[in-house]
């Protein structure tokens, strides 16, 4: 039985851990706050930026998932580098395949639909940071020190996704309170919305299939909807759902 260690217990980490457990894997979730372990999923508290503590908490692992989501976007440049480096180091020390949850920031302004081989051309701070994290991981992979892969998704949608982690869910909460939603950018520009269970399915596929290693992959996502279309779809469904 393979042992999978998931670092992070937000929507992505939790959904991934549940899916791995359903598939019969041994699962340990590491997070800042820990949590009560069940028969299916173990929990431990650890500082993901502390490589000694992290390696100790992991113990043995076949696959290590980076599903960390530093909550404050304004602190990414301080919060991400030590966590990214510690996860990479821990994967190297334990021999685990490192599966990182990524995003589309590294591409910068797209010139069309983005594929996993689109150039990492971001010029903004957060985009350059995520691009560099992947370049560091890939360089370590190519040097034979560690095996890595990365799943990249667009903005999240799904039950249990908190407003703080999704523009769509935040606007939905505002509209549900009967208030006008002031969306970011053009309400009619189409946008990919990635469903969190599809993210988990992709992470698990990458973690359990050696063909994933050495490159990034995109999370399968339904055809794009504009912010206006997506919010209208969600509100309409809410209005018509049956109680219970």
């Amino acid at each position: 039985m393979a042992r999978h260690v998931v670092v992070g217990k937000g929507p992505v980490g939790s959904t991934t851990a549940r899916l791995l457990a359903e598939q019969g894997h041994e699962v340990l979730v590491l997070s800042r706050s820990g949590g009560p372990s069940t028969d299916q999923v173990g929990h431990r508290a650890v500082d993901a930026g502390d490589v000694e503590a992290l390696t100790g908490a992991i113990g043995r692992a076949d696959v290590l998932y980076n599903a960390v989501n530093p909550p404050d976007h304004t602190r990414w440049t301080q919060d991400w580098p030590p966590i990214g480096a510690a996860l990479l180091d821990a994967a190297e020390r334990t021999g685990a395949l490192l599966v990182t949850m990524g995003n589309l920031y590294g591409y910068g302004r797209p010139t069309g639909p983005m594929t996993a081989s689109s150039p990492l051309a971001a010029t903004d701070v957060k985009g350059r940071l995520r691009a560099q994290m992947w370049r560091d991981a890939l360089a370590a992979h190519q040097a034979g020190r560690v095996r890595v892969t990365e799943a990249r998704a667009s903005d999240f949608v799904g039950p249990g996704v908190p407003s703080a982690q999704s523009h769509l869910m935040r606007q939905l909460a505002t509209l549900r309170r009967g208030r006008r939603a002031w969306v970011i950018g053009d309400p009619d520009a189409v946008h990919s919305w990635t469903y969190v269970p599809d993210v988990a399915a992709t992470l698990v596929a990458l973690g359990t299939d050696e063909r994933s290693a050495g490159r990034a992959w995109h999370v399968p996502t339904a055809p794009p909807r504009s912010q206006r279309q997506a919010l209208t779809d969600l509100l309409r469904r809410w209005a018509h759902r049956r109680p219970g």
Binding site: R176, V183, I184, S192, Y195, R211, P220, W238
Partner: protein, 65 residues
């Protein structure tokens, strides 16, 4: 539903750091921002959950917080 004009966001960003961060990634929101995962589907056989099912599942629980 209305779009916030970028000059307003920039002005707010002077006082609110998170708004400044949003202005940095305006390219994600002022033009089509679309992901293509054809390779993942072809390699691993994974398909996206249809949008109608996403909408149904997302609205099946409580109001987001």
């Amino acid at each position: 539903m209305s779009g916030v004009p970028w000059p307003v966001l920039r002005a707010v960003g002077l006082a609110v750091p998170v708004m400044r961060e949003v202005v940095d990634i305006r390219h994600q929101w002022d033009a089509p921002f679309v992901l293509d995962a054809t390779e993942t589907t072809e390699t691993f056989g994974l398909r996206p959950t249809p949008w109608d099912d996403v909408v149904r599942a997302t609205t099946a629980t409580g109001v987001p917080v």
